[in-house]
């Protein structure tokens, strides 16, 4: 019965590395176990075989980029120590919002229509959630101006911005771009095997 206690974590993240599921005490049989060959970050030469646990049959059709985003979100939530009830993983569940998020989104529908959707929303108390974005460096991410514009559009809607990135170079770049703004940049260098991280 104790193994069921971890299910809300898996439901919130949608998928998580198998080692993280073991940390939460979720047995492999509680979901669907798959493995993917994933680059630690976009453009990395080496690929890692990452075993992961999915919440339901929906996860069988997910591509490697989405899987990496989802796994990074799950590891980031673990690093930040966020409870599943305070986290809406929009990268994985496009429409998944808990009642609190639903009410907030309904009252800010007009503003949210013009705002890019972050990968996750983190409720830390207060009037709005913080936007959590996974940055793997894919597509060059529009450059510094594009990044600034994106964060600017989140400014009036979200209560804060957190970047999760697996690349050290990318983390340094993000920290430099947002040096004058209140943006947290968290580096997760070995996300496929541990929830180690540091704030840049």
């Amino acid at each position: 019965m104790d193994q069921l206690r971890g299910l809300p974590h898996l439901a919130a993240d949608g998928l998580m590395p198998l080692w993280l599921a073991a940390e939460y005490g979720i047995p492999a049989r509680a979901g669907l176990v798959r493995f993917s060959w994933l680059q630690a970050t976009a453009g990395a030469e080496k690929k890692h075989r990452v075993y992961w646990l999915g919440w339901g049959p929906e996860c069988l059709g997910w591509g490697p980029r989405l899987v990496r985003h989802g796994l990074l979100c799950a590891v980031g939530r673990r690093y930040l120590g966020v409870a599943p009830g305070d986290w809406d993983s929009l990268a994985i569940w496009t429409k998944r919002r808990l009642p609190q998020g639903h009410r907030w989104a309904a009252s800010n529908r007009a503003a949210l229509r013009k705002t890019p959707r972050p990968d996750a929303e983190w409720w830390r108390g207060g009037w709005a959630p913080a936007a959590v974005e996974v940055d793997t460096g894919k597509r060059g991410f529009d450059g510094p101006e594009g990044l600034r514009a994106r964060v600017q559009r989140w400014a009036g809607v979200y209560a804060g911005v957190v970047f999760l990135t697996p690349s050290e170079a990318r983390a340094e770049a993000l920290a430099w771009v947002f040096r004058d703004r209140n943006v947290r940049v968290i580096l997760l260098p070995r996300w496929w095997e541990a929830a180690e991280g540091r704030e840049v």
């Binding site: 809300p8 919440w55 599943p84 569940w93």
Partner: protein, 216 residues
């Protein structure tokens, strides 16, 4: 909400790969079969515990795998299998029940013997009790008779004492006797016995009246 260990209906739908309407139907069936659901106070959304999610998932898989088995049938099967498994774990089975039933007559006979012994014990207890009560009653009766006798004696004594007190005792007759001698001697000296006759008659009548009055 999820912090408290609950999941939403959308989570359940994703877990089973079914539409939201199917999950609603499953929830209604589960509720009808006695599975409790709580609701989010503000939004009214139904909250699933992980255990409920797993029961629904297993029932859904069974219904999907076996032809002709509905979700409701699968739930009943799960409950039945759960009962069987629990009984088997506790060592309760048809064989042990049958063995118990076969031993029942012997147990009943033992119980009857016990009851008979208890009845005879109660009977002996009753006899003993009656004997004791009789002994106590006879003792009490003797004491009562003695006490009544004592009371009678005391009353007799009191009555005689009262009579004596009422009649004045021997002083009165003695005084009367002295007075009679004082009257009779001069008369005897003057006229002889003949003159004394009327006095003697009067004396006898007085004595009779005194006796008669003192008798009651």
């Amino acid at each position: 909400m999820l912090q408290a260990g609950y999941l939403t209906s959308a989570d359940v739908a994703r877990r089973m790969g079914v539409e939201g309407g199917t999950v609603r139907h499953y929830r209604e069936l589960l509720e009808r079969m006695g599975f409790p659901f709580s609701q989010d106070q503000e939004s009214g959304a139904y909250l699933w515990t992980p255990e409920l999610v797993e029961v629904a998932r297993v029932a859904h898989s069974m219904a999907k795998a076996a032809k002709g088995v509905s979700f409701e049938d699968a739930l009943r099967l799960i409950l039945y299998a759960g009962d069987l498994a629990r009984n088997a774990q506790e060592g309760v089975s048809v064989v042990t029940l049958l063995r118990g039933a076969l031993q029942l007559p012997q147990r009943l006979e033992d119980a009857a013997v016990d009851l008979r012994e208890a009845a005879s014990f109660v009977r002996s207890l009753e006899t003993d009790l009656r004997r004791r009560i009789q002994a106590v009653a006879s003792e009490a009766r003797g004491e009562l008779v003695a006490a009544a006798r004592q009371v009678q004696e005391v009353a007799q004594e009191a009555r005689s004492a009262l009579r004596e007190a009422g009649s004045g005792g021997w002083i009165g007759p003695a005084a009367i006797g002295v007075l009679a001698l004082g009257v009779a001697l001069p008369i005897l000296a003057k006229g002889g016995l003949a003159a004394l006759g009327p006095y003697l008659v009067m004396l006898g009548a007085g004595a009779f009246l005194g006796w008669w009055a003192g008798r009651g």
